[in-house]
């Protein structure tokens, strides 16, 4: 992001565009509800994934560190929320206390993972982070004895939804004459949080720290020679990325009202990474696009494949879940072949990839 561009005044046309997008986003949950409340829930999921993918983008896209265990931070955030707002321990703290706590703990985990792996790069870093992700999941699975911390594979149930006083985000309610369903209320809260996360990411990218991350990604030796403390700057990338994962985890916990270690497997890490890579590493709009597409596409497939097969063959030949992974795989291969820098790549990243290709 050129700093010069930022200081240019925003033209009125752009404001009109922003207003249009704002209206569209405000109406979206009601449009989705016409198809079914499930679609509002899917939209909420898409926003959780946008936050997750943007967090991972700091580590992978900005600082260029491959992290295959990112979902562990999501798990930390989710379990912090689950433990502090459920009958499991009988603690019921409000969400605006727990979300920062979960995010902070995830941030500490980010530093814990980052510190010993700083000297590793590329494949080696990927393997260690992958291991870390699995360790966290296995711990969650087994921490039900001798002291029952996580309730093991059964997971934690009856988690409190977000609520402020008596206003609960899970209940359907009529506000100002408009009937709101639970997911619709969540939608607006999530929209606000997502916008905040996007703004924070945009500002981080276009800052002294964003430039330092870029420098480390481009040439670590030169970055060091320019006085950048590469150790701290990489740790900061891990910490920032992890804290966004923690927030997303807390929201996931609250909207699902149930968590179990199963939700935090390797496949989940890979899907979030796929969102970042497919959308365009290092480019915030691209990553958002990737996250939204990869959340919505499987759901669209799920809802169209079975009726389609029923209409064509009179029965379901291929299970939607199977098709989902198949299409996922084909899409990934196609993108990597035809748009290796992602659907909407960052200009710098694209140049780096082209340079690497020309050099090899």
């Amino acid at each position: 992001m050129s700093a010069r561009r930022r200081r240019k005044a925003i033209p009125s046309k752009a404001w009109a565009g922003v207003a249009l997008v704002a209206v569209a986003l405000a109406l979206l949950p009601f449009v989705a509800a016409l198809v079914g409340q499930a679609w509002v829930r899917i939209l909420n999921f898409a926003m959780i994934y946008v936050m997750l993918a943007l967090g991972l983008n700091i580590v992978v896209g900005f600082a260029g560190l491959l992290d295959l265990g990112y979902i562990a931070f999501y798990a930390v955030g989710a379990y912090v929320y689950a433990l502090l707002a459920s009958p499991h321990f009988g603690i019921h703290l409000p969400f605006w206390v727990i979300l920062p706590l979960g995010s902070g703990l995830a941030c500490i985990f980010g530093v814990l993972l980052g510190a010993p792996t700083l000297k590793l790069r590329g494949d080696y870093l990927a393997i260690v982070t992958l291991g870390f992700g699995e360790i966290v999941r296995i711990f969650l699975n087994n921490l039900n004895a001798p002291v029952n911390l996580t309730n093991g594979p059964q997971g934690i149930n009856l988690i409190d939804p977000f609520h402020v006083g008596s206003f609960s985000f899970a209940k359907a309610e009529t506000l100002a004459g408009i009937p709101f369903s639970g997911p619709q209320k969540y939608y607006y809260l999530l929209l606000l949080l997502t916008i905040a996360v996007i703004v924070i990411n945009l500002r981080l990218q276009d800052s002294r720290l964003g430039r330092a991350w870029e420098a480390v990604r481009e040439d670590e030796v030169a970055a060091k020679a320019m006085g950048i403390n590469t150790r701290n700057i990489k740790l900061l990338a891990f910490a920032m990325g992890a804290s966004f994962g923690g927030i997303a985890g807390g929201i996931f916990s609250a909207t699902q009202e149930f968590v179990s270690p199963e939700s935090f497997g390797l496949l989940e890490s890979i899907i979030v990474l796929a969102m970042v890579v497919l959308g365009g590493m290092g480019n915030i709009p691209g990553v958002i696009l990737g996250a939204v597409l990869l959340t919505l596409l499987p759901e669209v497939l799920r809802s169209t494949m079975e009726p389609l097969q029923n209409a064509l063959f009179g029965r379901v030949l291929l299970d939607a879940e199977t098709v989902r992974l198949l299409v996922f795989g084909i899409a990934l291969v196609a993108i990597m072949l035809y748009r290796p820098a992602g659907l909407w790549p960052s200009a710098v990243r694209k140049r780096e990839l082209e340079g690497a290709k020309a050099g090899s």
Partner: protein
């Protein structure tokens, strides 16, 4: 200035396996001079550079920089202490613009952290504006301001060298260490580089210059250090060094008299 010498190297040794890259090298660089470091290929010039800038730790010996020891400092600490370097094989941030390259050089002298970046308070905005302004001034200073928004890798070779110098100057060094800045340059570019070095020196900067271009070294450097097989064989003014029989032997391998001025 309380002391005359900016950098004192005492008995620096460095071994790589069986190769003695540097053996007992001592020298001093005074404030404000252009100090040359020459020697045949493989003499240990770049090794000395890498030991000085913290990429390698010396096996023995120590550096005193600006009155304080530099022992065990990492490359980023060295830069923070005030030694900025360029690289023999240019190491710019290729896919970033020239301006961004220099702005990254300002990192070590600026403070904005996470909260500054996110909140964009007045102080951070002022700092960002100052970074950009300074970076632009430096590009103008080295003469590549016209290409501020071009990618570093799209700059002409000579301009890339100059950009690297601008990036190093952005860290506000006390000592500017240049590793073969004229390598690969044609005569015109070398002349322009010479003028730039003289300008930088006139503005009060101390410069350490590794260079193979003897004409350039002899015309800009006050004193030179000559290395051969990791050992110091001479340290004196250009006029003395170029008539030193040991130096001539190191370069030409025998007792041949030669006027290096014409080389």
């Amino acid at each position: 200035m309380s002391q005359l010498s900016l950098l004192v190297a005492k008995n620096i040794s460095k071994r790589f396996g069986g190769v003695q890259a540097l053996a007992d090298v001592s020298f001093t660089i005074n404030h404000g001079e252009i100090y040359g470091l020459i020697g045949p290929n493989g003499a240990g010039k770049t090794s000395l550079f890498n030991v000085l800038t913290g990429i390698y730790a010396p096996d023995e010996g120590a550096f005193i920089f600006d009155g304080e020891p530099l022992a065990g400092a990492k490359p980023n600490d060295v830069a923070e202490r005030g030694i900025a370097r360029t690289f023999q094989n240019i190491r710019l941030f290729q896919n970033l613009s020239a301006l961004e390259n220099v702005m990254i050089g300002r990192h070590v002298r600026t403070r904005a952290g996470v909260f500054g970046a996110i909140l964009r308070d007045r102080r951070t905005l002022a700092e960002e504006a100052a970074i950009e302004k300074r970076a632009y001034e430096l590009l103008e200073y080295v003469g590549v301001a016209k290409r501020a928004n071009d990618l570093a890798k799209h700059l002409a070779y000579g301009d890339q060298r100059r950009l690297e110098i601008a990036r190093a100057l952005a860290t506000e060094p006390k000592l500017l260490a240049l590793d073969e800045p004229a390598a690969g340059m044609n005569a015109t570019e070398t002349q322009a580089l010479k003028r730039l070095l003289e300008d930088i020196s006139r503005d009060g900067m101390t410069i350490l210059l590794i260079e193979h271009d003897m004409k350039l070294v002899m015309s800009v450097c006050g004193r030179v250090l000559v290395l051969d097989y990791g050992k110091k064989i001479a340290e004196d003014s250009c006029a003395v060094v170029q008539n030193d029989p040991k130096v001539i032997a190191a370069y030409l391998g025998g007792e041949v008299s030669l006027n290096l001025k014409g080389a």
